[in-house]
Symmetry: C2
Subunit: 203 residues, 2 copies
């Protein structure tokens, strides 16, 4: 499973240099399990996957909901590092399209189950759930990246373009899940259309 | 709950003229319950909500999965009738935008939990599940409507535009769920941008 999902990518990044603590093991297992199986997974299965006793889990967290929220929080940086480019010399258009090229790569994987933040929100159906709040904040980070680049490129309405690009990202992910196959360039093509419409060219 | 969700709209439409059968009651209750609570709801809760015994349920359906698939199938026509305009004299652009205006109305409702077909797919995480297949077919019906109108309007690539509009629809629904509030015109504005880019004007 190494690097096969955003959640698994997080595991590797987090555990490569130090021995993982019980907390790490639990959160990494949770991220992978919730992503693959859904948030309905029981405490029993979660602890089994993590190799952690229920008692240890409850010493660290008040509830499964807290584990869920903390595991999302923990996987977010690696997820974002995979999608969003670090500082580089490319113009905003290329940096924005980078995100959609990465999404296309993820969507091509047979174990792609959509954006983990979208999935958690869709499954919980409760905008005030602690994990929904984490998911929203992570999603807003992506939108903020788009907006910053749109501002740099001189878009007329950077906030609107950023929302449209986020909708493109999430709708494309949903499409890959529903169709059970990759996007064949749809996400990149659609982002290009929106960038063209906003007058954001190659420089 | 009457008319408050696509699922509830289906209930009303289906049961207004005849006395509902046990099957109808079960499927209507299932559509509402799965939409509000998620596909993880147990058989016990489902039968309680429907006022149907478990024995009766298993006389009609082999499993909860079958109930889920059949309930989606049953709610689809009312859902589609709410979103997609019937035959009228309006040009394709107005007919396409109609769908997004309806989505904005749905997203404004406090009990909006996103497109029921998207939710079921996201929750099941199994593209071959009978209910995922129903969801995909229902989604393809919306895409086919977009494509037909795009062809009528003379778009360069009607199939691509139809996919982009579907991504806009689904991504907007996801956004409303994640943000826990309505879309404030985002879905309509984004659809207009894509129609403009495809050269589809007001006539």
């Amino acid at each position: 499973m190494t690097q096969a999902t955003p959640a698994a990518a997080s595991t590797t990044a987090a555990s490569s240099t130090t021995t993982p603590t019980t907390r790490d093991r639990l959160l990494d297992a949770a991220a992978g399990l919730f992503y693959r199986e859904g948030v309905g997974i029981g405490v029993e299965a979660l602890c089994r996957e993590a190799g952690v006793s229920k008692r240890s889990m409850y010493q660290l967290f008040g509830s499964k909901d807290e584990v869920l929220a903390a595991s999302l929080e923990r996987s977010a940086p690696a997820h974002q590092a995979f999608l969003v480019p670090g500082a580089d010399e490319r113009p905003p258009r290329a940096r924005i399209l980078h995100v959609f090229e990465r999404l296309e790569q993820l969507a091509d994987r047979p174990d792609f189950r959509g954006c983990p933040f979208v999935s958690v929100s869709a499954e919980l159906k409760a905008p005030d759930h602690p994990a929904s709040l984490v998911a929203r904040r992570c999603k807003d980070t992506l939108t903020a990246f788009f907006q910053e680049e749109a501002e740099r490129a001189g878009a007329d309405d950077p906030a609107l373009l950023a929302r449209q690009l986020t909708v493109t990202f999430d709708g494309s992910g949903v499409r890959a899940v529903m169709q059970g196959r990759g996007l064949d360039g749809l996400a990149v093509t659609m982002a290009r259309t929106l960038l063209d419409a906003a007058g954001i060219g190659d420089r």
